[in-house]
Symmetry: C2
Subunit: 558 residues, 2 copies
């Protein structure tokens, strides 16, 4: 018997068993649909929003989502944006996960970049793909959304590259355990996972017994490490201290010990930036000289959750002992009261009224309020914001390692929804005109879901970060100039009641706007087009570009 | 010695050799950059537009593109749209290929769905990813755009799933041969291929000798098959007759033999639809009864380039002998002059003035002109257009197998650019409001590149095709209603000179517009919002949905 026939028969047998079980199950009030089990587990993890796009292989499951009492379906404009939104949601809602639902092939593959970014940046996102029914999975007909050659496993093979673990659901016997396994991985590892849900299996019944056991486990390795540490040290907080959910423990450590503390770019906001012992951002040789000296001259640096990527480490220019060595030396000396120059940003006096980066970021810093969620796009924004302090209990989102432009737009939608759940303050996005064009349609979903971020669009006529890296005057770094203030009207705010849009051309206009209480209260979605010179950039970006240029040369430097 | 160290040393050695070769090369006037060699080969294949988004690992190569005399850089708004555009370009420009340039990780992964679609639908697209330099490839530092775990080959592993072949360029010795190998695959197989181009290797010099040999090879298997055929037959033309470039040979066959000819949906426009022996579209049991009878009662069906996917075959309801059997019977009888009822579409008389699908598609058919390029989005458009004849020498684009919504928007940009090269007429797009939201920003690139398609936006308040499949009144099939006529102004047509937008609410308004000569001349980019009832659909979609519903059930049908 050919292997394919055998497989088909086996699948048919499983289907019949499943039907019998389902029939029996109907008499058992405690049995639930596989789809409902999955939703129960997500709800238990604190998921209140599910992102994605409907498609014919997930429509049945979507009925369950739409009818769920505590999970809200956020239909996105496309799957990449949806994956970014799930990522942003998970970053803000510590301890929970982002949930993404797509359809077989066309939908799931559009989210590839977003999921890979969540892997790279260690964000827990559950990617559920609705797939053909079990018989189709086995007989592999030439369905739409297939590659035309019967390779039904190609999408899973791609997903294996970018997710920590995968649950390819094929029967009712293991479905619940498989779901639990990958959800546990997602939380513990802080990485995306992948679940395929066949159309029929979503509605197959299984016992709800497992739901009696909580699925949430916590890692406290880092907590232990931190609690055992001591001595003559400064603390350097980085990405993983946020991702692995030890922000509270870190705070406790800092207050108990009085250690001076600095953050790497990806660790920004892990420490309250108004804290008196907080010294600012350390980025290797890109750091402010004062910060650089203080960090590098300390006898011991306690590095928490270090992630030394190029953009996170001043292009690998840390002049300190390796992280591993430092983290190994625990519980040594007592805390010395090392001097910490305060981390403040002065708004410079400039002769002209042009909005420069040197002026803009310190000025914005004064606009921030406690508990604001602040999102900065890769480019001038993510570099510019490094040099200014953020307020107490604020949350900072940027994609320093993965660096996919356009990410913040979807991400801001997710962050704003999560911020509601967490009783946070305003959500504020900084994005360049070039980046916003990649994912712009998601502003429409913001209008539809009633979230009210303040969006600063830095209009500097193209890809300025790239101009600094290469091709300063090249046409390929130019983009179409959009009429940004007309955008929200077109994307759904027909009568102008859902949003407001502004253009600010100079320091005076921006200052006036920032000082307007109505504006600052963020009672509607607001978009501010900030006119900036094409070739201006924040200090940190200029230095980074110079360093990148040296290693990333295009011709062979002989 | 650890394998990693050995590899690093080897890479370093290769680099040094390459440097020596480069130094020597400078004395040889015939040596050219690897990047230039690649462009020379693409140019030879007729490529005049390259699609993509700049990123720091492709900026150096982009200098060569921007300076190339015959290849124009089309900077897209995002990579998915760019991959769609490359696909549309390749479909229209028979014999050439689509060219796509992205950057490492973030860029290339955003194009995954577009490339997989080109694989599925057999479209020759060359995907070039700019990647880190050779030393970085070997030492694998924690660069931005990486997964953070040193797996530099993860993106290639994903690409292997969706491209026919891959050229991972690592040295000057094999670069030219590797490029030639995959470009040849691309043309011969009609499938996408993948090339990784390290930043330094793009500027390494190699001999231009190989350029003296033309790289273009042609398959004529199908041609032979067709020429040997004969007898009492009808011809059924399908997708592969277009993809494998035998349209001209097919025409010759038809005229020599006088065989009646029908097309499958994916073969639409392979045969001139005004041809007197052309009978219309055959889609299994979804066919018009008259067409179904004629095809299925013929003694022999000569099936050219068959691709029996669900949406292309009326959900697998062909009532004819298998393709293979039919294709095997060659050169048998003489052509009998079987009767062919003409393929015409009558505009029905309807009582009300609402724009129904039954009325819309026959009416549009009268608007079409010879040599028009007609693009139909998956959904009501791709189903609606099946029932109406297209004019002589028109080109029809739809994604019947892959069916990724939003595809037509990028695709239309590519198609319109290719149409210029091929001296074709207007480019006309039919897209639903739901689908257009996925990829809408590419309208901006159309404005920037000065192409002037006519875009009919079927505004039926959401995902109508999905309402027919499942969840007719579900909220998840709703979308935000956009102000479509304001869109082009926001996306770059600041003074209204580059475009015109219209809304038509009824048959009268649409007829008046279609009869306007200025409108029909397509002298600017035009967008027409066509108001249609939410739950109206073309005949073929209604039948398809009914058939899909039977096989694609969500609950187990016991």
């Amino acid at each position: 018997m050919a292997a394919a026939t055998e497989k088909a028969l086996e699948a048919e047998m499983n289907r019949l068993k499943l039907q019998i079980k389902t029939l029996k199950g109907e008499e058992n009030a405690e049995d639930i649909f596989v789809g409902s089990y999955l939703l129960a587990r997500l709800s238990e993890l604190g998921v209140t929003s599910m992102f994605g796009v409907p498609g014919d292989f997930n429509l049945g499951f979507l009925d369950l989502v739409e009818d769920h009492p505590t999970i809200d379906w956020v239909g996105n404009c496309n799957e990449l944006n949806a994956s970014y939104a799930a990522d942003g949601y998970a970053r803000v809602k510590q301890g929970s996960v982002g949930a993404l639902l797509t359809t077989f092939g066309v939908g799931e593959l559009s989210a590839t970049n977003g999921i890979a970014g969540a892997f790279s940046e260690m964000v827990p996102v559950v990617h559920i793909a609705g797939v053909p029914n079990l018989l189709q999975q086995s007989t592999k007909p030439l369905l739409h959304h297939t590659l035309g050659d019967g390779r039904y496993d190609a999408y899973t093979k791609a997903a294996e590259q970018f997710t920590y673990s995968q649950a390819i659901l094929t029967n009712t016997y293991s479905a619940a355990a498989e779901i639990d396994r990958v959800l546990s991985d997602c939380v513990v590892q802080g990485r995306p996972v992948y679940i395929t849900l066949p159309t029929d299996l979503a509605y197959a019944k299984i016992s709800s017994d497992r739901l009696k056991t909580k699925n949430h486990s916590v890692i406290d390795e880092i907590v232990k490490l931190v609690e055992e540490a001591g001595g003559d040290v400064v603390v350097l907080a980085d990405a993983c201290s946020i991702r692995h959910d030890v922000v509270a423990e870190l705070k406790e450590l800092l207050h108990k010990t009085g250690y001076p503390v600095y953050c790497a770019p990806m660790g920004k906001s892990a420490v309250d930036e108004t804290y008196e012992r907080y010294g600012g951002i350390y980025v290797g040789s890109i750091s402010h000289p004062e910060v650089k000296e203080k960090v590098e001259s300390a006898k011991l640096i306690l590095s928490i959750g270090s992630l030394k990527s190029d953009f996170n480490s001043g292009n690998f220019t840390y002049s300190i002992p390796t992280t591993r060595t430092v983290e190994a030396r625990r519980g040594q000396a007592k805390a010395l009261k090392l001097e910490v120059p305060p981390f403040v940003a002065h708004v410079p006096e400039e002769k002209d009224d042009i909005i420069s980066h040197d002026w803009f970021w310190p000025r914005m810093s004064k606009f921030f309020q406690p508990k604001d969620v602040i999102v900065a796009e890769t480019g001038t924004s993510s570099f510019g914001i490094l040099d200014v302090p953020l307020p107490k209990d604020s949350v900072f989102l940027a994609q320093i390692l993965w660096g996919s432009i356009g990410w913040t737009v979807g991400s801001t939608l997710g962050a704003a929804l999560a911020a509601k759940d967490c009783n946070l303050n305003r959500t504020i996005l900084f994005v360049g005109d070039g980046s916003l064009q990649l994912t712009v349609q998601e502003l429409s979903t913001m209008l539809r879901k009633g979230v009210k971020p303040i969006i600063f669009v830095l209009n500097n006529s193209g890809y300025t970060i790239e101009r600094y890296l290469h091709g300063k005057e090249r046409k390929y770094n130019d983009i179409m100039n959009w009429k940004w203030t007309g955008l929200l009207g077109v994307l759904g705010d027909h009568d102008g009641t859902l949003s407001k849009s502004y253009t600010v051309n100079n320091k005076y206009e921006l200052t006036e706007l920032l000082e307007n209480e109505k504006f600052a209260s963020a009672d509607v979605l607001q978009l501010v087009e900030v006119m900036m010179p094409k070739l201006d950039a924040p200090r940190a970006l200029k230095v980074q570009a110079e360093l990148s240029g040296k290693t990333n040369q295009y011709a062979l430097a002989l």
